[in-house]
């Protein structure tokens, strides 16, 4: 991990600079500052001897400008390599011609820049030309969005069988306009909280594990995470995050909050499983740098790998947090999307059974993954800390769930029989699709990490890349897009320390689609370095 090597960049214009990592206040002088700094970078790297008199002030200036940046891991964004310019960027291309709008804030400019994470580039490439087995068989196959389309028919069926009255019926249950259109508590209707608490318990295979009074509902898990971030950390503070992690965290957790994500690298030798000693080491290193760590952010089941933390690890995690006096944010959005034989253990379960210091643990949930309703925007903050709940409640003023949607969901989620059936059928379908997908890859000699949950697999394509580094990985990413017309998320977007891993989401595929996907991947495999393909079956 190259903390000493500054991120590689050609002498660019500021807008090409992969600075989604720019923190807000510290690099306020972005534009002109960078023009001055970048040439100095070469000098400081010692490529030429210079009179000390000029070297020291330059180095000092550089140090002050760049120290916050150098602390970060190498930029995950491979856009600096020449081939990236081949990727069409659609409308965002327009922004390249100007130096960011002078009317937009510095914060705004870092956001408004063209997307430089391959995660977002891939997503936008697919838009507008998406594969459809009948209408558009040559379109892009989307394997980069963790969306579950396998069980929507069940929900559609429930609606057609259960919702007989107009939404604004005259009846009871507040289903009239008054209960729908007027101001309601911003942190969610009580009945919906109760329904979701019950649903979450069912998903985790327990009864009454969750207390609706500890819940705050938000418009999507995205805003739930941001709200928690605003509550638990100040600008410039850090959160430890095991890698590889969901690329969206970079934007959602850091963007407006100014909080930094400190990666804790996990390796394939451990199946990318989190270890507390690694967290400890990262924490200490951060302390040495003078960075204040406020918490650990984990996703369990993990995204993008799909493994689950054991009860013991969860216990150790809580111990670690208590020892360092920091928070734990546990993103459990995929809790219901398990397909292995192992049971998922929620953080809530761990805390339930022991007399732990619960004030530092916060769980994120949502209906986008487990219930396939990303459009409805339903997220949950579940916390044992009253102060956090109180602050979050106030913040839901900005991110509240639309009331008619809440009203629609209440009877659906309360329906125990339906949700139980949905959960088990959905799991079975995920398991089946996963098995087919993995099998298809294995036939080509491509292995996946062992995973037990999630809507994706973590695919090892390292033997297909050459050279064995980020550049090679990016080239494969582009080949998959250009030749295979497949969007898969490269590991570098997820900050994976080992190159060559890709996240492939398979839950948008029908059984018939899988052979098509495999065929396309084979096309790409065939174009890879013959040396590489020799290793394949």
């Amino acid at each position: 991990m190259s903390q000493n090597r500054p991120p590689k960049k050609p002498l660019p214009q500021p807008e090409d600079h992969p600075t989604t990592t720019t923190s807000t206040a510290s690099s306020g002088g972005g534009g002109t500052g960078m023009r001055l700094i970048v040439p100095l970078q070469g000098i400081v790297q010692g490529r030429g001897g210079l009179i000390l008199g000029s070297l020291i002030p330059c180095a000092l200036f550089y140090f002050l400008q760049f120290y916050p940046k150098r602390r970060r891991p190498p930029s995950p964004n491979p856009t600096t390599t020449s081939s990236s310019s081949d990727l069409a960027r659609s409308a965002s291309r327009l922004n390249l011609s100007t130096r960011g709008s002078i009317h937009v804030s510095a914060r705004g400019n870092t956001i408004a820049k063209p997307e430089d994470s391959t995660y977002y580039i891939g997503l936008s490439k697919v838009r507008g030309d998406e594969y459809d087995s009948l209408e558009n068989p040559d379109g892009f196959i989307q394997l980069g969005l963790a969306e579950n389309r396998l069980s929507l028919d069940l929900i559609g069926k429930w609606i057609s069988e259960n919702l007989n009255d107009s939404m604004f019926g005259e009846g009871n249950d507040g289903l009239n306009i008054n209960g729908m259109a007027t101001y309601q508590p911003f942190d969610g209707l009580k009945e919906l909280k109760e329904a979701i608490a019950g649903f979450m318990s069912r998903v985790m295979g327990k009864t009454q594990l969750f207390d609706p009074n500890q819940m705050v509902l938000t418009s999507g898990a995205t805003s739930a995470l941001e709200i928690l971030c605003f509550c638990l950390a100040d600008q410039g503070n850090g959160l430890l995050v095991p890698t590889p992690y969901y690329p969206g965290f970079d934007r959602d957790m850091r963007w407006r909050t100014g909080v930094e994500l400190v990666p804790v690298h996990c390796r394939s030798s451990d199946n990318f499983m989190l270890s507390v000693p690694a967290l400890d080491q990262a924490y200490n290193q951060a302390r040495k740098r003078g960075q204040k760590i406020r918490g650990v952010l984990i996703s369990n089941p993990s995204n993008p790998v799909g493994n689950m933390l054991s009860k013991d690890t969860l216990y150790s995690l809580v111990d670690f947090a208590r020892e360092k006096n920091i928070h734990i944010i546990c993103d459990e959005v995929f809790a219901g999307s398990t397909y292995g034989n192992e049971e998922f253990v929620s953080m809530a379960e761990v805390l339930d059974s022991e007399d732990f210091d619960k004030d530092r643990v916060h769980i994120i949930y949502g209906l986008s993954k487990d219930l396939s309703l990303p459009g409805f925007r339903v997220g949950v903050i579940y916390s044992f800390n009253e102060n956090v709940l109180a602050a979050s409640r106030k913040l839901t003023r900005f991110s509240s769930i639309s009331v008619p949607t809440q009203r629609l969901l209440i009877p659906m989620i309360k329906d125990e029989r339906f949700t139980q059936e949905y959960i088990s059928v959905n799991r079975e379908r995920i398991r089946k699709t996963h098995a087919l997908f993995v099998e298809g890859l294995e036939k080509m000699g491509i292995e996946c990490a062992e995973s037990k949950a999630g809507l994706y697999c973590w695919v090892n394509m390292s033997r297909l890349i050459s050279p064995y580094n980020e550049k090679g990985e990016l080239e494969l990413f582009e080949k998959l897009l250009d030749i295979g017309k497949i969007n898969a998320t490269p590991g570098s977007a997820c900050h994976c320390i080992e190159p060559g891993w890709f996240r492939c989401c398979f839950t948008t595929l029908t059984e018939a689609d899988i052979p098509v996907v495999m065929e396309r991947i084979r096309k790409v495999v065939d174009t890879c370095n013959p040396f590489c393909s020799k290793h394949l079956a």
Binding site: H103, A112, I159, L163, S166, P374, S402, T405
Partner: protein
């Protein structure tokens, strides 16, 4: 446990523990009183009547009727279930195309079809609250300032400042010229900021105004546009009450002004809108940012991930607002009902000598209670306000919470209740005024001559007698008659 509490608080961020949420302002105190003792026409007739919430319930029957007749719109009916799959899965932050088109069209209609809006510039947000916050994030950095004419909606303090670190600088408007915004006031505020070495990033206008209920004249708008162009700062126009205009002078949108003035720098112009007031849908959480600046649209759109409107709601709104016949009928009817309600209310007030600022829009009126203050200070205003909350049992909002420069003004909302409740509210106000006049008259005795005192009483009697016969007057209520 004190140690435990401090330790707890230390675990949280500054944002979580500061007062940025603004809920400690008196604006919300009245709500707390209401929450603990809410008025109900049958169950709790002595409860506090909520007149501090600008909600529009006057046309719910029209909405209910439309939805009942269009079951596919809400997709949560058997007929609508076919659309369900695609809608439930859709999470693109551009929003459904139909939704953006319908909203653009609606905004055009509200403005009399005088200008056109481009659906691709429409960005969603979590209510107008979210829209303001997102714009603040996009346009300003921590420490920057927005100018805001006073009096202004207290929520701005939270929406524009809390998480963004941006500050608000008041531009003082005075009752002497009906609180109109003047160039002098703008320049004064701007110079103040410059002297303090603070960077001004924009001007925030609320037109029609909350809490005043007035619309900005063409001259004022042109003046504002001229000002922001000269200083090269942004103009955020919150037009959330655009369709609550019920009489002349009519509403002129900033969109109209900029379309007529090609010299205006469009990159500086942004509109905030919402369906919460015009349609009465605050629960839907539909906030809209409309910007003429491409970079801002791009930036705000990405930010909308934090406050996307549920696709189910988008679908419903798209259907409803594309129904041209319904929309036209609704806008006309809504305007009509608001006019009537406004008339009843302000007349009821003037009958007891309470004036209010002449207004042609909004769901409230700006009441002038200066003569009822014991002392012309903000403490006096607070004292009067507490009396109104606890004795008269009306939740009205004191002018100080709107940062009004002069004490004695109160905002009172009247569109969130039925006719009966309005009558009750007016009755309570009447009684309160009479009682306090009786009370103050006693004090006046010591200072003024008897003649004057009896005159003031007589005038009051005349007013009351004169209205005795009016069928609309609550005076005809047996209760009041009995007392007299």
């Amino acid at each position: 446990m004190m140690k435990g509490l401090n330790k707890q608080e230390q675990l949280l961020s500054r944002i979580a523990t500061n007062d940025g949420h603004g809920e400690n302002s008196p604006y919300f105190d009245g709500w707390k009183a209401y929450d603990s003792d809410p008025f109900h026409p049958t169950n709790n007739q002595t409860g506090v009547i909520q007149m501090g919430l600008a909600e529009n319930k006057l046309c719910f029957d029209l909405i209910q009727e439309w939805v009942t007749n269009h079951p596919t719109a809400s997709i949560c009916t058997p007929e609508g279930a076919n659309d369900f799959r695609d809608i439930a899965i859709f999470q693109d932050y551009h929003g459904l195309k139909e939704f953006r088109q319908a909203v653009a069209r609606f905004m055009e209609k509200v403005r009399g079809d005088k200008i056109s809006f481009d659906p691709d510039r429409i960005v969603m947000s979590g209510g107008a609250t979210g829209a303001h916050e997102s714009l603040a994030f996009c346009l300003a950095d921590p420490g920057d300032v927005f100018l805001v004419p006073t009096p202004y909606y207290p929520g701005f303090d939270r929406d524009l400042r809390w998480r963004t670190g941006v500050q608000l600088l008041p531009v003082v408007c005075e009752s002497s010229n009906d609180f109109r915004l003047t160039r002098e006031a703008l320049e004064t505020a701007f110079e103040e900021a410059q002297a303090a070495n603070i960077r001004v990033k924009g001007l925030l206008l609320n037109n029609p105004s909350n809490p005043l209920g007035t619309v900005m004249s063409r001259e004022t708008l042109l003046e504002a546009v001229d000002f922001i162009n000269e200083k090269n700062i942004h103009l955020i126009c919150d037009e959330i009450y655009a369709a609550t205009v019920f009489s002349q002078p009519g509403f002129i949108s900033i969109a109209e002004i900029v379309s007529e003035n090609p010299k205006c720098n469009l990159d500086l112009i942004h509109i905030v809108y919402s369906l919460s007031k015009d349609l009465g849908f605050p629960g839907f959480r539909v906030g809209i940012i409309y910007s003429y600046n491409d970079a801002v649209v791009s930036c705000a759109r990405k930010m909308s991930s934090f406050g996307l409107v549920s696709t189910q709601t988008q679908h419903l709104i798209a259907s409803m607002l594309s129904d041209d016949i319904f929309v036209e009928k609704f806008l006309a009817e809504s305007s009509d009902r608001l006019a009537k309600r406004h008339e009843i209310f302000t007349r009821g007030l003037s009958q007891v000598g309470i004036g209010s600022l002449k207004s042609s829009a909004g769901l409230y009126c700006w009441m002038d209670l200066r003569r009822m203050l014991k002392e012309a200070t903000f403490e006096g205003e607070m004292e009067l306000w507490r009396m109104i909350i606890h004795e008269v049992k009306l939740n009205v909002s004191p002018g100080s919470s709107f940062h009004c420069s002069e004490p004695g003004w109160f905002r009172v909302c009247f569109a969130n209740m039925d006719d009966e409740t309005v009558k009750i509210a007016l009755r309570r106000i009447r009684n309160f005024v009479l009682q306090s006049k009786a009370g103050s008259a006693k004090k006046l005795c010591r200072r003024r001559s008897n003649l004057e005192v009896s005159l003031s009483f007589r005038r009051l009697d005349e007013i009351m007698m004169g209205n005795m016969m009016s069928p609309h007057s609550p005076m005809s209520s047996p209760l009041v008659q009995a007392r007299n």
